[in-house]
Amino acid sequence: MRGNKRFFFAIIIFGLTLGLIVSGGCAKKTEETHGTKYWTCGMHPSVRVSDAEYKSGKKNCPICNMPLIPAEEEKPETRVQKPEEKTEGYYGCGVKEEGHCPHCDEGKPDAKCVCGGHSFVTTDNKMNCPVCGRALKALAKGDAAGIDKSIVARVKLNKNQVELAGVRTEQVVRSHLTKIIRTVGRIAFDPELAVAQEEFLIALETRQKVANSPDQDVIRRADDIVAKSRIRIRLLGMGDDEILELEAKGASQTNLLLPEDKAWVYAEVYEYELGWIKLGQDVKIKAVAYPGEEFKGVIKSISPVLNPNTRSSKVRIEAANPDKKLKPEMYVDIEIESMYIAPDGSHEIPIVPKEAIIDTGTRKLAYVDMGGGQYIGKEVSMGPEAMSNIWGRDTKVYPVLGGLKEGDIVVTRGNFLIDSQSQLTGGMSALWSGATEIKQRTEDREQKTEIEPVETKHKH
């Protein structure tokens, strides 16, 4: 009986004390959640570990196992709708990290560092900071000053990630740029021009004949006829040089009518491509009749007027015509190789491979490899797409007009992934209830028992 009594008392006391401890603990816990400090992962801003949890041993990111970094709970920023004067119209998250910046490894251990990636600069305040996911706020004048405005993103990858993304890079070099303009043409059968040439030549002859005529009126009329027929052949497509040649030669171009050693090719070049065409450019000609065979030609003249129906201009090309293969009225494909000249007039310009550019619609981005797994996304301004024989092969490239400089190492493969990484949002798995459960469960597990690393034999 005695033993029983003691036993029951023990149970009662145990029950009561447990209840008390537990309710006391409850009060403490709610207090803790009001604390402002928490820990997060540089790679996964969605990870939030409370200070208490951190102290109890949860020091690594549950997703990537990187050491967690401290962060302050921020009250939601009220957005500044219009940039005030002091702000220069730039927005950033404005986080200043003490010491070494965990995101870009910049800064000295005891200096205050404004990390460029964090003080993400944009003129658009509709998005969140790509590094820490905070809402952006207007930057003060000083803060925005030291930052390269063309930098729109900073991404840091570890070695494994670089490998997995299959990142490939290429250096920005100076080079010549060419562009191939494809168009169609036909072998000229142009009696009208031939006749006009004859008329012009006759007019010239007449002019010569009347050169010594005392009657100034006759001379003037002959001059008039020459000038008018000159205009006529010019309107029919002949260039000035060509006309001089014609004058010198004194014979009309009979190959406008029948095949000869040289053939005339009339090509149509569209208005928007006319800028690429220059006199004397080499031209490749392919005839439907002779597949695989290539004829060479030179641009002799560009018609001074545009055909209003087709918005194109006639380009006259003189082509070699071995064995008189090219017959009048034959259809031909034409490739005009043209050199790109930069707005400043230089022929050699820095170029980037086409793959290096991500065109988001609103802007064009290139990622520059800074070494050590750091990548900087830069806004680039570019000329038109062109070809360049560089890196040992014909490559589609863009001429760089701004944003990148010679010697920059740009990412040509995996850049889409790097760009995506900079835009990743943490709460993606919130869409999938099934998935969150797994995540939560693994987190729970981690809280209870530290997972010992399992020997992995697999190789990547």
Partner: protein, 1034 residues
């Protein structure tokens, strides 16, 4: 009536045996024919309308298909809400019906409306009903493999042979193809040559269309015979197409081969299937709604065996996801649980009765209860799955109770009247009849209380209702069956089984020990009532204190045993880049020694039940059996390892499971606990508002996993046609659009008919003329004047960022802001957050916000339970009151409820489980049995006090002890069987155990504590008697 039933059964045992014999076979038949699946279908009742509009952007699809459809479909009877999604190339409209509506009825109503709605769509766009299947329907995935065969060959075999054959299998709703290349005749025209020949694109389309016809010309009679006349003109080969004339110049025909190239190539595709880094062709079998997954898969496999004989010898059909594995595992776990429970129950019952045959008589009732439950399930259309079978599993402890009470009483009476039987004063039958009718009504009451108290579960709605209704049905049915069996079969069995040497309880050492112990404690209790009552009080108080510490969740996660790796990339991802990443991932996953097979899918299988965009991969990782795993590796650890080796930048790794993910994919509602729906007419503005909402809610305490849906993010190239310019050339918008659509996008002009196979013929510009934004500007538009004008002169070309997928609800555009709530009450959170949003987010006219999410379910479930549980308890109380006709006595018995509740809470706390609906269902189950022992003991206390003249306090104590001892054996047995029957569940490790455990815990903890009621009830009862005595005396 009960007595008449018992006596009839006892007198005609043959009839009883025949009936039960029939029941046995009927039950077996029901078990093998009942629809089986792993988990109940918790998705909403939805009908999908799928509309394919190839090559069109989400914007076009939304404006021209989805919106007109969802507006036209309003007013279909029984529809709760209409949600819709427009994506690149297709539209899906989901009509969510009320749960009570019959599925096929709903479908035919939709079809009715659809015939009118379809007239509002652009010509040639045909909406179709999705398969009559739900997210659970994708039961079997396979690949078609053949060494050295090209992907288009395999695809043809899958498309034209395997697919249709499998689709004919009974119970299969649809077989969809995924991956590979669909063969296509491609006419790639060169705009330069067309310009040279002065041929417009529309000529080519027209010419091709008109060159692919077979006709019939009736018959001619010649002689006595008739001949059928046919005109042959179907395209059969590349040659046929090349020689189609598209025009002529001065009598010289221009053939297609003159203006372009004709070749056989791959059709444009939105899905890729990859097996361990190698592209393959595959298919998915979608089961019809309400079918038996096991049987369907079995039939499919049989069909595949047949088919394989007809396939080329090197082509194989290899499965990579087979639901039967999961079902087998789940059922295996349950079978294990049921068998263990049976054995353990036997092992407990037999020593206490010290009579094996009596034990067998009790346990025989078990399978019959289960069989009867299954028969009823079959006819009530309750499917067999983890939930419904769990209902039986958690009821087993209670199912045997009735048998125990019956048999024990028969046993006791037979012993009591052994002499009478010997002297032939009474027959065995009479004795058993008396014994049975003695407890008959008590048994009825006990079962009724159990059944009634479980009724609130039936009132649960929507998702939780779908989960727990099957369970409530099976449990109730099994319990009702058990009482019928206890009244009909058990007495008969006792008649034949309880024979031979019957030991008095006192002779059984175990029972003696029990009696001894019980008596000692009871006497102490009766002498120290106040002190004793502190014990249950402290347990109760303590449990109230720990309750806030137990976490909360909606449902414990169900482990399907296989892994679905679902990485998500940015919406701008191209198919080629996505495939490159998928190959890297699959190759890495395959290197894990635990992995048997890895098959990854990019984009969609060609079915309405798979709306995945191409930036979303679904990789099914099939694992080897656990014994081949490395030491110390669990599934969780494995997933973590995989995750850390798959840190590809720009890819969000999501790890989930095939079934739950499929349900998620098709569930268009909010799947997180809280969500904000932003409605309005403009997508950009909606996105802006939702981002603002996100940043405001971020500051509210308790918000986690915050995610605002990104609507925009897909790059578009838009041709904005300049009306003044085209007017100059005498063109219309349609002329220009035709060129954009057909020249750049290409169009399937016609379909060849080649025996069983059909392939599209498409016309498009040469690849390099349209594969870059630059080249696009050189697309020619023919003018009525005969000139061909490049499109840049007619249209401005813009790069813009647009939507990847457009969601709408009831005809309004919609975006979600999703979040979970941790560490605080959800309703409070929603109130605070919505207030904060109202203050800080400016919502312009025409836009509005709506708070929704799973919390609604939980709140609703909570509200319902708050009303219904007390009502069921009240009914319970009334039942007890009707038995004793005393409120005070009934109240004594009812003390068991709070005490057992606290026991359940303590066990939850110690085992580290969370509160969830499953746990609450467990508690409800507990309340029904908690009072049983109290009823039993009170009945006997009443009898004893009536029989004895109680005069002094000692008399009271003696009477109480006598009564308690008289009933302690059955009370102990019923309680202990309930406990031990639940124990195996706690030790189970197999698939499905994670769902059963939370339901078992409250009962387990509660029933252990319930043993206190053996003392509480006598304690309080005797106290009252004592006070009555004192009053009388005083």
């Amino acid at each position: 009536m009960i007595n008449r039933l018992i006596s009839y059964c006892l007198r005609t045992p043959f009839v009883v045996f025949v009936i039960y014999g029939c029941l046995f076979f009927w039950g077996l038949w029901a078990i093998s024919n009942i629809p089986v699946d792993a988990i109940p279908d918790i998705g909403e009742k939805q009908v999908i309308i799928y509309t394919d509009w190839q090559g069109r952007s989400a914007k076009d699809v939304e404006d021209q298909v989805t919106y007109p459809l969802s507006v036209a479909l309003r007013g279909v009877p029984g529809v709760k809400t209409i949600r819709a999604a427009s994506a690149f190339g297709f539209s899906e409209v989901y009509l969510i019906f009320h749960d009570k509506i019959d599925y096929y009825w709903a479908r035919s109503r939709v079809l009715e409306k659809l015939s009118i709605a379809a007239t509002r769509l652009p010509p040639g766009v045909i909406p179709v009903l999705g398969p009559d299947a739900t997210g659970l329907g994708q039961v079997y995935w396979y690949t078609v493999e053949g060494k050295g065969r090209s992907l288009d060959e395999l695809r043809s075999i899958q498309d034209w042979f395997i697919r249709y054959q499998l689709n004919s299998v009974e119970g299969v709703s649809e077989v969809a193809t995924v991956g590979g290349f669909l063969r296509q005749y491609q006419i790639d025209v060169d705009p330069n040559k067309m310009l040279a020949h002065k041929i417009a694109l529309s000529h080519v389309l027209e010419a091709v269309k008109k060159s692919n016809i077979d006709i019939g010309a009736k018959v001619i009679e010649s002689g006595a015979m008739e001949y059928i006349v046919r005109g042959l003109g179907f395209i059969k080969s590349v040659d046929d197409i090349e020689n189609i004339a598209v025009g002529y110049e001065n009598g010289t025909p221009v053939y297609i081969k003159n203006i372009g190239v004709v070749q056989v190539g791959p059709e444009f595709r939105r899905g890729v299937l990859d097996k361990e880094g190698k592209e393959v062709v595959g298919g998915v079998v979608i089961m019809r709604y309400g079918q038996n997954a096991m049987q369907v898969i079995h039939r499919v496999k049989e069909k595949i065996k047949e088919l394989e004989k007809g396939l080329p010898s090197d082509v194989r059909i290899i499965s990579f996801y087979d639901r039967t594995d999961l079902i087998h595992r789940t059922l295996g776990t349950l079978k294990e649980a049921l068998i263990l429970e049976l054995i353990i129950t036997m092992a407990v019952v037999v020593p206490f009765l010290a009579h094996i045959w009596a034990g067998i008589a009790i346990c025989l009732a078990l399978p019959f209860s289960v069989f009867v439950a299954f028969i009823a399930m079959y006819y009530l259309k309750v499917d067999s799955n983890i939930m419904s079978l769990s209902g039986i599993a958690i009821a087993i402890g209670t199912l045997v109770d009735m048998g125990i009470i019956m048999t024990e009483n028969a046993y006791r009476n037979l012993l009591l009247f052994a002499d009478d039987i010997k002297n032939k004063v009474k027959t065995r039958m009479e004795v058993i009849f008396n014994a049975a009718s003695e407890v008959g009504s008590a048994v009825m009451t006990a079962i009724l209380t159990t059944v009634v108290s479980f009724f609130p579960v039936f009132a649960l709605e929507s998702q939780e209702g779908k989960l727990f209704h099957p369970l409530a049905w099976t449990k109730t049915l099994a319990l009702l069956a058990s009482v019928v069996i206890a009244l009909t079969l058990t007495p008969v069995l006792c008649l034949y089984f309880v024979k031979g040497k019957l030991k008095a309880p006192e002779e059984n050492p175990l029972v003696r020990k029990l009696h001894h112990l019980y008596e000692r404690i009871l006497r102490w209790v009766l002498n120290n009532r106040k002190k004793f009552l502190l014990l249950p009080a402290s347990v109760l108080l303590g449990s109230l204190a720990v309750a806030p510490f137990i976490g909360r969740e909606f449902m414990p996660p169900f482990d399907e045993g296989s892994i679905l790796f679902m990485p998500v990339m940015q919406p701008a991802t191209s198919l080629t880049e996505a495939h490159r990443i998928l190959q890297i991932q699959d190759t890495i996953l395959k290197t894990f020694p635990e992995v048997e097979m890895v098959v990854g899918k990019i984009g969609r299988a060609e079915t309405a039940t798979d709306p995945a965009p191409i930036e979303m991969f679904e990789t099914i990782v099939t694992l080897k059996p656990k014994n081949l795993w490395r030491k110390g590796v669990t599934k969780d650890k494995l997933i973590q390892e995989m995750n850390s080796s798959l840190q590809i930048p720009g890819v969000s790794n999501i790890w989930t499971q095939p079934i739950i993910n499929r349900i998620d994919m098709l569930a268009t509602g909010i799947r997180t606990s809280v969500g904000v729906k932003v409605f309005g007419p403009d997508l950009g503005k909606i996105q802006e508002i939702s981002q603002e909402v996100e940043s405001v809610v971020k500051g509210v305490r308790g918000a986690t996993d915050l995610y605002s849906e990104k609507i925009l993010g897909k790059p578009y190239i838009e041709f904005k046609i300049k009306r003044d310019q085209i007017a100059r050339y005498g063109l219309t918008i349609a002329d220009v659009q035709e060129v954009i659509e057909m020249g750049i996008g290409g169009e399937n002009v016609t379909t060849t008919v080649e025996g069983r196979e059909r392939y599209p013929v498409r016309v498009r510009y040469l690849r390099e003329l349209r594969d870059s934004p630059d080249a696009l500007s050189r697309v020619f538009v023919p003018t009525p004047g005969g000139a061909q004008v490049p499109i840049t002169q007619l249209a401005d070309i813009y790069f813009v960022t647009g939507p990847a997928m457009i969601n709408s609800e009831n005809g309004l555009l919609r975006a979600y802001v999703l979040m979970n709530v941790r560490g605080r009450d959800m309703v409070g959170f929603v109130e605070e957050a919505s207030k904060a949003v109202k203050e800080k987010v400016k919502v312009p006219e025409g836009y509005f916000l709506q708070w929704s999410g799973q919390f609604e379910n939980q709140v609703r479930a909570k509200k319902k339970l708050i009303v219904l549980v007390p009502i069921s308890l009240l009914i319970n109380f009334m039942l007890i009151y009707m038995n004793f006709r005393s409120i005070i006595k009934s109240a004594f018995i009812f003390t068991a409820i709070p005490v057992t509740l606290s026991g359940g809470i303590w066990l939850l706390y110690f085992m580290g489980f969370n509160f969830s609906v499953a746990v609450w269902v467990g508690f409800i189950a507990l309340f029904g049995v908690a009072v049983d022992d109290g009823v039993l003991i009170t009945t006997y206390l009443d009898d004893t006090f009536k029989a004895r003249k109680v005069k002094t306090r000692d008399d009271v104590i003696e009477a109480t002890v006598h009564a308690g001892l008289g009933r302690i054996r059955p009370a102990f047995l019923t309680t202990i069987t309930t406990i031990v029957a639940l124990l195996p569940i706690m030790f189970l490790k197999g698939t499905g155990s994670e769902i059963m455990k939370p339901m078992a815990i409250p009962s387990l903890g509660g029933m252990v504590i319930e043993m206190i009621t053996w003392f509480i009830v006598p304690c309080l009862y005797s106290w009252r008697e004592e006070r009555k005595l004192l009053k009388k005396g005083g």
